[in-house]
Amino acid sequence: MTHTVLKSLNQSLHDMMDADERVLVLGEDLLDPYGGAFKVTRGLSERFPDRVWTTPISEAGFVGVASGMAMRGLRPVVEIMFGDFLLLAADQLVNHAAKFRWMYGDKVDVPLVVRAPMGGRRGYGPTHSQTLEKHFLGVPGLVVVAVNPLVEPGAMLRAATLDDVRPLIFVENKLMYARRVRTPIEGRLGAMRARQQGEPYPTTTLSFADVPASDVTIVAYGGMVEIALEAAETLLIEDEIYCEVCAPTALHPLDIDPIADSVGRTGRLVVCEEASAAAGFGAEVISAVSGRAFDALECAPRRVASRPVPIANAPTMEEAILPQVADILEAVRGSVGRWRASRSA
């Protein structure tokens, strides 16, 4: 029985609302029959008419409202229709929600979940295709997680909503909604050995089963995970390069251990992200790995990212701007090639 990421999230919301009266859902255009721009909330308003609040177009305002609700006993899940609009709520997230618990001497909790569908590849143009979570990383008190199809997205959403008392941005990816969830079964995912560490926002580490040591660690999160896996397969077949793919879901605070361990085994690091590179997730991973596993690094870590321009609307340009399998191949080959060349010399 397979299901999509969309289905997993939607089902999780249904189950949570069914089980826990404190769960409320807020956002734009959530009501059935429309059920939200990407249909993650479909069917909720019909079943729970009092607890699905379709909002005015007021991203700052309704994130603020939800913070207030969270501080007074509820478990609101907010949908930002397109993650691009999260910037409108930046002050609410950083100067309000993220600060309240610590600033108020731990007297309050803010169990707020803000869901944000990010990413391009759908031709939506400059203001509806961005991957903006990098700008929200590193805020004291604010958690950022990103799902991918190797974990059960609904379970992660449930943990974020019911078990986590911290305000949290839950990054989804527009293209990923239609993907099948395929979590590892008995330590394997297809041809790869799979390990998941870190609850409730696990990092999945995948490696080809019968290889003692892989050649390179590829880190990818969210929408880049599937692309990294495709690259890893190609590299195996075409280049006999063995990749370990690390797919973290906790972007901040980042659990660097599984990544640093992997680099400890491979000595080489390529980090993929859909945003442009500067001061992004890859920068943090490379810095943190440098801090933890510097001696293991055999060559310069590389970043695969968007070109640093707005995401153009025209498909020819959008494709060239966003990171593709080919970019990962190039980065990995660059890393490994240098080493192979030096080894065979």
Binding site: I57, G61, G125, T127, N313, P315
Partner: protein, 324 residues
């Protein structure tokens, strides 16, 4: 801003042939025909992404924009095709843009909702364009150009706080700006009652901004209505808001319409195109329809022959130090 500026919209409107009703109809026909063709292309999978058509609201565009002088600024939103076509009369450039061509309005970078041409701009983020437009109007005033600025916004956009910040500053600083509210009664899938408490006009007046409203899809009526209004904004150098109560006859974007079928059908009686067409003699109407159809065909044909947007152009030389 452009090196070889076209006529201003008002001048162009004056130079169009035929009586005003003919001209208004021709312009609305151009918008409708453009969008019908565009949606056809989307259906056929020829065009990627999404788009917001203004079918049913064409009378707003012709009613307002035909009064603008060269140099006047327009800032439109996601639903900008009608505004742009009246402003520019250049359907081929918009067609090329939405089809991702290098000769599109902004070289394929913006697509349907992020365009710029001469003094016309649009952006796809609700609300934020309103303070930007106020700044544009103020810049014209500071530089004594006599130009004014027009911002288009929808009913739903009144949810955004930026709108009120802009109204306040526009009023305090006497910005020569007209805020045109197209209340089409829905924001995406949300009816206005669920998104708006109170009243548009009261909101403007609470900021000491003169405001009025008109319920109409009659292009002639709107054209008459907005003449003195734009004149007064220019003459008085004060902001003003006007609400047009209208209706969107198409889906919000591409194909996601869940509004009550009956309501939409009922509203089709107010479709601005047949309303205006009925005022033309049949011969003239058919001639215009045919001419416009041919023109739009030509525009899309031309556009589809243009080179695709150039993937080599995805650099920004002014930001070149950013890591790749």
């Amino acid at each position: 801003m452009s090196e070889d500026p076209s006529l201003g919209p008002a001048q162009r409107f004056e130079q169009m042939e035929g009586p005003p009703a003919h001209r208004l109809y021709r312009q609305m026909r151009l918008i409708r025909c453009f969008e019908d063709k565009l949606l056809e292309r989307f259906e056929a999978g020829d065009v990627a992404g999404t788009t917001h058509a203004c079918i049913g609201q064409e009378a707003d565009a012709v009613g307002v924009i035909n009064h603008l002088q060269r140099g006047d600024v327009v800032f439109s939103n996601h639903r900008c095709h009608g505004h742009f076509l009246v402003y520019s009369d250049r359907p081929e450039l918009l067609a090329a843009e939405v089809m991702g061509r290098d000769t599109g309005l902004v070289q394929g970078r913006g697509g349907s909702q992020h365009i710029c041409w001469e003094d016309f701009y649009s952006n796809g983020i609700q609300g934020g364009i309103v303070p930007v437009t106020v700044g544009m109007g103020l810049a014209e005033k500071v530089q004594n150009t006599d130009a004014i600025a027009v911002a288009f916004l929808g009913d739903g956009t009144f949810g955004e706080g930026a709108v009120y910040e802009a109204l306040n500053m526009a009023s305090l600083w006497s910005a020569p700006v007209l805020f045109v509210v197209e209340n089409n009664r829905w924001a995406q899938s949300t009816p206005v009652e669920l998104e708006l408490a109170g009243d548009f006009v009261d909101r403007a007046r609470a900021f000491d901004i003169e405001a009025g409203q008109i319920e109409s899809t009659d292009a002639e009526e709107l054209y008459e209505y907005f003449g003195p209004i734009l004149e007064s904004v220019r003459a008085e150098g004060r902001p003003r808001m006007e609400v047009i109560h209208t209706y969107r006859l198409c889906h919000h974007s591409k194909s996601d319409d869940k509004r009550p079928r009956q309501e939409v059908e009922e509203k089709k009686k107010d479709d601005p195109l047949p309303k205006m067409r009925r005022r033309l003699d049949d011969e003239a109407a058919r001639r215009i329809d045919a001419e416009v159809a041919a023109r739009i065909d030509g525009a899309f044909r031309w556009a589809s022959q243009q080179p695709f947007a150039d993937p080599m152009s995805i650099v920004d030389p002014l930001m070149e130090r950013a890591p790749q």
